[in-house]
Amino acid sequence: MMSTTDIRTIAIAAVAIGVCALLPLVDQGYWLSIGVSIAMFTVLATSWALFSGPTHYISLATAAFFGIGTYVTGSFYESVSFWLLLPAAAIVGGLLAGIVGLATLRLSGVYFVIFTLGLAELVRQVITWAQNMTGHRGTYVLLDFGSRSVEEVIYWTLLGLAAIVYLAGWLIGRSRLGFALRIIGDDEEVARHSGINTARAKVLLFMVPGAVAAATGAALAPRYVYIEPALAFTPLLSFQVVIMALLGGAGRLWGPLVGVIPFTLLWEVISATFPNQTTLLLGAAFLVIVYVLPRGFVGLLERARARAGGGA
């Protein structure tokens, strides 16, 4: 059953994605690369917020899943089609997220944060070690998409992923699972006593950002040309995703997007002009989120709208 508002929302989203898809026809250089960054962070931050928004569990595992995705492409692109590697990476990422979730999501939020914080480093150390044992260091990813540039293809792939994430988020929001997660976020005790298997719901939903981040990593691998563990598993990525999602507002499906666009642009400017100050920027962004914008731009917007509406 779809109401007319639902159909309108879907139509608007489809048109918006269609318009975004035209970017490579306008510019193939700087703006396309910005477009790739924005599309990547939109996919990552939106899928992150699907889980962390309702549950308030802060996951710093994005880099781990992303890195695994790049390695899926890096290891198999010569023998398997690039387009098959994306879903394959998603399955690997989802499964790993399931295992991590089973081990940590039964416990308190702090343990979960700590665990995910070190997960990327853990995987990186293991892969580096395995590479040292077998004697090769990095992996070249040389893909050719014929008449289309690699950047273009990645951009469109990410847009496709974004569409899938939004659709998934919209469907989850209307599903029993999504409703269960909202209840868990409000009061886990009530959720359990209302008959919700809270552990299972959390693990299932945690698999979504895991799968998406791995697919994103797989899609971006050709952009790096040469992948090595330190690049693929950079912990920075996890923090950027958390900041963007929270800056926008993790309580709404479209919230992270509102954070991704300004923060990506700001990041580009800062890292171009003051390359040594990016950590300071990250730190400042966290402090702004906690002390100034606890509910993100979305919260700010909704409060303004409520004031405008309630004043009459």
């Binding site: 702090v110 950590t279 400042a284």
Partner: protein, 288 residues
């Protein structure tokens, strides 16, 4: 034998650092993710005092401790107390504290990068070998271990014997009940947080005598301290010490027998086992 002793020596300093974090998390209820940056800053201070003034790190700590105490007290009062006040639930405070101390941690790294650059720093102090059971160990490792052990013992005695220590332990068990029996929870929380920061900074100075640090290694130590605290049990001094020594030995074991690049992986493996089988810590009773 060589591995065992090196591991124990390392674990002694880990114990001190983890005690610092345990004071902050167990009593002030702040999961301080900027803990590692405090540690690196302590190491920097020792490095600077040694290279600029030829001052022994074991003397520096006497100046460092009160300074770090004051800085951490300010951090608590200015940044964290407002979060404690506005939090409607334990969970919300947890999330806020995690995010704001992450912020602090990045700002700390950023400032240290700006001040000292991204280079590794180390200095050579008391690097004379000492023979124990036929193997050689740096005197600096041993001196740091002894200093850490003395401090751990002093903290343990203070927590268990003194009136203030008793009050602090009462808060760790139940802040609400502590308030009812007339303990000033807000003041002592700030005190515990500041003390924890001072202990961590001193731990950093002791480590710097024999480990190479750089501005961005803090997070590794935060992780290790967290793993030790969880392994030992939140608020459990005895458990913390045992867990720290265990981690020191296992890390050294993995580093020398398998690969030095896998130390964190080893710490993690231990962490996962604890989470799965003893989620309340080594000496905790029952399941979480």
């Amino acid at each position: 034998m060589d591995i065992l002793i090196t591991g124990l020596l390392l674990g002694g300093t880990y114990a001190l650092i983890a005690m610092g974090l345990n004071l902050q998390y167990g009593i002030a209820r702040i999961m301080n993710l900027a803990n590692g940056e405090i540690l690196v800053a302590g190491g920097f201070a020792a490095f600077w005092m040694y290279t600029a003034g030829q001052t022994s790190p074991y003397l520096t700590i006497f100046v460092l401790a009160p300074v770090a105490f004051a800085v951490n007290w300010l951090i608590y009062v200015v940044m964290l107390r407002p979060l404690v006040k506005r939090a409607k639930s334990r969970g919300q405070l947890e999330v806020d504290a995690i995010l704001s101390t992450f912020g602090l941690s990045f700002v700390g790294v950023g400032l240290m990068l700006a001040a000292f650059g991204g280079d590794y720093f180390n200095y050579s102090y008391l690097a004379t070998p000492v023979t124990i059971f036929g193997d050689n160990f740096g005197l600096n490792r041993i001196a740091s271990f002894i200093a850490a052990a003395i401090l751990c013992a002093a903290l343990y005695l203070w927590l268990n014997r003194s009136r203030a220590g008793m009050s602090i332990r009462a808060i760790a068990v139940s802040p609400e009940s502590a308030r009812l029996v007339g303990i000033d929870v807000a003041r002592l929380s700030a005190f515990a947080f500041a003390l924890g920061g001072a202990v961590t900074a001193v731990g950093g100075a002791l480590l710097s005598a024999y480990l190479t640090l750089d501005a961005s290694t803090g997070v590794i130590f935060t992780l290790k301290a967290l793993i030790i605290v969880i392994m030992g049990g939140v608020g459990d001094v005895r458990g913390t010490i045992v867990a720290a020594l265990l981690l020191g030995v296992i890390e050294t074991l993995v580093a020398s027998l398998i690969d030095p690049g896998l130390t964190l992986a080893a710490a993690y493996a231990l962490f996962i086992l604890i989470l799965l089988f003893r989620p309340r810590g080594l000496f905790g009773r029952g399941a979480a």
